[in-house]
Symmetry: C2
Subunit: 650 residues, 2 copies
């Protein structure tokens, strides 16, 4: 069957461009703050084949172009008869406005992943991009295949001269209003909270329309919707990407179960063309947020395609005019994520495709260093790390530690591709020694943010990275635990973004009960306030509508933010305890934990099928459809047999 | 008055993309064979100003975006009131499909050339692109401002079951057909020749339409138009860019006058968004063709803007995935043309804008060399030079000589910008010695094409370059004249493209009478056949419809090709004899010649006004509105006075 084909990566670049042009705020369009790539505009697609008998082909272009068979040009749309024999076919497509793509119907050689492409008229040898989604010549890959499902409001009330609809929970919906008087200006206010929907002045998303009897509005985030004037017919359709929830989690702790479910729902809403940060405000793709989404995805959808789409969109074209999202750390996460992705899915082809992009990105990172060789990001680069007080004078420790992990990731990928990476390994080792020399404060027993400022300020971030990435030796780790992680005098983390890393570090350090407690307090705190999805930020000290404020705006805080879905990852990786040891789960470990939760059960997706885990009392059981795993429970180990339950009882 | 503003160069990249997507052939779309750039998709525009009293602004985006005044965001289209004081304003625009541009109306700070821009949200410091053309908020710079003028056929006849219209001469027109029966398929065949319009099978441009009562067809080249079926209402509008014909030429030789006029008309038809190669077939922008167009333009329109648009379109974005038009020589012409352009117009700002693009292009050229350091173009590069038998094994001499001129051009530009270029000067000198060592054949007294093949084949091309670029010393020049230029055993040049260079060389060598004769024979030969514009190729040996064949197709030869306009340049530069000595005509020479033509008169445009020249009998007169010129006539010299006639009589 024929599929639409395009230059690999361009589908992502195009949809990323569309996505990043959609932000709106207080009625104004708000283009992305970073450089946005366009797909290649003219692309040739190639195929050689041998036909045993006469055959035919027909080109449908996304754009304009023609089919060239053995050097002869045919208009698109024309059925071309081809005699038996060896043939060389190409389709050159230009698309000024959108994504150049080709759809070739044929009884012998339809367009599919076997075709190659290139920017030149001849000789392209890159494999095309394609997807099982796009098999209809009438629907081009410029149309992202979202699904729609009508949803009904859970309630409505007449208020403030209009009707307020409550859809019962956070959602993302296309709204159609009909039965409007033509001369009436209709105001729609979208609210993630009731307060927002009733505050047209300050609500982030609002729209005024006039002059027609009905309006179809593109999909936006909401739980509440205010429609001004007398009641009209309002229809809402949930817009989503159907992804199979392969991971699951259940424990004796009902709050934790609700946290897991709410996290999973939050994550579903944010999993669309790419992994978004949040569905209301910017709906952009941020590499730091995506880095955590890859981790959550590994324990929920295990959807390789969305992860790769996100990576391709973030990286864009090979030339880099600035850091990914303009942020140095976000470039580094991108590198790290490729190695992590390989470990999860074991896809060497994707890895090899990414290698040149990794090398040039690393080169871009390394072009800006200070006199000691520490990376600085260069002029205009944003040194983000987190929304937190941090001493950012000169090179900062958190970036250097990410850089070391990025060097290791680069080495892992080069090695997986069969290349020598000893230079990278050595560089990472030497660099770590230098980081310890400049940034480790023996007196404070912790990494300081900056050595340039002289303030010797300690924040949690770099110290967490040192633990998570295994860059701190045993002595330093113990010191970090005592002086930073368990030291309440060090400023607490307030974003679920870095809470995610903090929880990860605590799990790695074995503080499982503390993790369960903190998750229940922090995530549970949001649920207690009626959250139906996890927020961008939560400060238990704040009250009322104050909780929704962020970035200087009354409802600036996103109430459905992907980085809040961390518990899905933490439960899967540390409670169900499943992790790959060799790429693609060729070898893996299942080391469950129940601390603070009682009995647990659930499943973790892998490329070879789902692993099911049950821990009941003193007995832990695993069912996996494939070999290669080791069950670890209460100090005992057992090889996991394929297709049957493997159990260890204390 | 407000003007549309865009990222400098993007207007050209966008219109180049549109242009290069428009080729059609035998009913099929035919995208350009080279890489096509897209403009930057998200751009910010900036302005700081101080208002003495309250003022206002309103943004109209080409794309989507908003106006940010002192950090506060306002929707596009909204009139924003601004208090007195200092203000910082920006407009960030995204345009997924087209060219991001901004139009800001304001009583104090409208969008114009004073604004800056950048790809980032903040800190752009590049000056924007703008044009006096685009001052209407309702018409974006995505619409190129062609003019339209109704033209009437000079004749029509019923033939082959339809009507054949003859517009009397070559033109470029938008055709509207009305009064069609809905169920009748209408066939339109465009012909540069009568034969082509009556040969629907082989005509390059043909179109079939059905299902409506009228059709409006985009503008295409034609002299003849065949419309099938019973007579309908056919309306034709000439589509053109109004350019002032500042140059003029008249002599006692009526044939030469007609040649000049026909060349000028040919050139007008090809001067549109950019300098095209020809108006019928590909209508693409080719750097080699453009190189000659810049020279013709210097003696006809002196339109700096179209030259710069062409240079920007050819160069595209800074990153080069391949040579300009995929051709090594065409990359080199681009470099040379910037230096020539500076000499003509003296615009240092444009020069400085081009310098980074020149440097990176030179770097791209130099990345592919053989073991002797000769440039080779690299894998997949097209070594064109001319449609001529040439020994292209290994590096070829014509490319090396172009490269030396390109190095000198680069040096001229660096020096004009105030930079040291001694390295480039030295490199050019050393390289020339090496070229002489490898490519100069002492026995043949000429440059050979290739030293690798061992064939020691001589063609005219490299030898012409050596003369034109002044790279051959006196002895070598004499040898080239004798052994190549005046040697009929060396294959004759058949394209007006290289005829142009050949005539240029002959003029430089002083063979003026021979030039006049050849022009009259070759160009005059086309006129004798009824040509109303100059052809892409002309072989006097061919007869009938055979003359229109090229590239393996019956009407493949373009009958209106810019490179045929050479006589405009030759008459202006060598007969009227005007040329700049210092950039922007700060100093110049007028050295007229009448050999073979009798009395002549005409005018040559310069940045400071037109220079008028009259040669009558033994007396030569010049009128220039500015100083700095020297009149040279029959061995005498005289400084030209501004605003009066300066005369030398023998």
């Amino acid at each position: 069957m024929a599929q639409w084909i395009w230059r690999y990566g361009d589908h992502e670049i195009y949809h990323s461009l569309l996505l990043h042009s959609r932000r709106e705020e207080f009625g104004a369009d708000y283009p992305a703050i970073w450089h946005t790539d366009a797909p290649e505009k003219t692309v040739s697609f190639f195929r050689e084949f041998e036909a045993e008998k006469p055959c035919w082909m027909r080109l449908t272009p996304c754009g304009k172009g023609s089919l060239v068979v053995d050097g002869k040009r045919f208009p698109s749309g024309e059925k071309v008869d081809i005699p038996a024999g060896k043939h060389s076919v190409s389709a050159r497509i230009v698309n000024v406005e959108g994504l150049p793509a080709a759809f070739v119907e044929s009884d012998i050689c339809p367009s599919n992943g076997e075709w190659t492409c290139g920017i030149r008229e001849r000789g392209g040898c890159e494999k095309v991009g394609t997807s099982g989604w796009y098999t209809d010549p009438d629907v081009t890959p410029e149309v992202f295949p979202f699904r729609y499902e009508e949803i009904k409001p859970a309630g409505k009330e007449a208020v403030n001269g209009g009707i307020l609809y409550d859809f019962g929970k956070e959602t993302f919906a296309r709204i159609t209003v009909s039965g409007c008087p033509e001369d009436e200006e209709i105001l729609l206010v979208y609210g993630e909270s009731r307060e927002e929907a009733l505050d047209p002045e300050n609500a982030v998303i609002r729209q005024r329309r006039k002059g027609k009897t009905g309006y179809e509005l593109h999909a936006r985030a909401l739980r509440y919707l205010f429609v001004s004037g007398a009641e009209k017919t309002v229809r809402a359709e949930f817009e989503y990407l159907p992804l199979e929830k392969r991971g699951s989690f259940h424990s004796d702790d009902e709050l934790m179960n609700r946290i897991w479910e709410t996290s999973a729902y939050t994550f579903l809403l944010n999993s669309r063309e790419f992994f978004l940060d949040g569905i209301k405000r910017d709906r952009w793709v941020w590499s730091g947020d995506a880095y955590q989404s890859y981790m959550v995805n590994a324990y929920l959808f295990f959807d390789k395609a969305i992860a790769e789409r996100t990576m391709l969109a973030l990286r864009g074209r090979d030339e880099m005019p600035e850091h990914i999202n303009t942020i140095l750390d976000y470039s580094l996460y991108w590198l790290i994520s490729i190695a992590d992705h390989y470990r999860l899915y074991g896809d060497r082809e994707f890895l090899i495709r990414m290698l040149p992009r990794m090398r040039s990105l690393l080169k871009y990172v390394e072009k800006d260093t200070d006199e000691n060789g520490f990376i600085t990001g260069g002029e205009g680069a944003w040194i983000f790390i987190d929304w937190s007080e941090m001493d950012k004078e000169g090179p900062i420790s958190a970036e250097q530690l990410l850089y070391i992990r990025a060097l290791e990731a680069m080495a892992e990928c080069e090695e997986a591709a069969g290349n020598d990476a000893s230079f990278l390994r050595e560089k990472a080792g030497t660099f770590l020694m230098k980081v310890n020399e400049f940034f480790w404060d023996a007196e404070k027993g912790a990494y300081i943010d900056s050595f340039v400022s002289g303030k010797r300020h300690v924040t949690r971030h770099a110290n967490l990275f040192a633990v998570i990435f295994g860059l701190a030796d045993e002595k330093k780790t113990a010191s970090i635990v005592k002086n930073v992680i368990l030291n309440d005098a060090v400023t607490q983390i307030t974003t679920p973004y870095f809470k995610f890393f903090e929880m990860d570090a605590l799990c790695r350090l074995g503080f499982m009960e503390r993790v369960a407690e903190r998750i229940k307090a922090y995530w549970g705190g949001m649920l207690a306030l009626g959250a139906t999805s996890i927020w961008e930020q939560f400060d238990p000290e704040k009250t009322g509508v104050e909780r929704y404020a962020m970035y200087g705006s009354a409802y600036g805080c996103s109430l459905c933010h992907a980085w809040g879905a961390g518990p899905v990852y933490l439960m899967g990786r540390y409670y169900l305890g499943v992790r790959p040891v060799k790429p693609g789960y060729e070898e893996y470990t299942v080391e469950p934990c129940t601390e603070g939760l009682g009995n647990i059960e659930g499943s973790v997706p892998t490329p070879k099928g789902d692993i099911r885990i049950k821990v009941c009392g003193n007995s832990a059981s695993v069912f996996a459809p494939f070999e290669g795993g080791i069950l670890v429970w209460k100090g005992k180990k057992k090889a996991i047999k394929a297709g049957e339950w493997t159990q260890i009882s204390e």
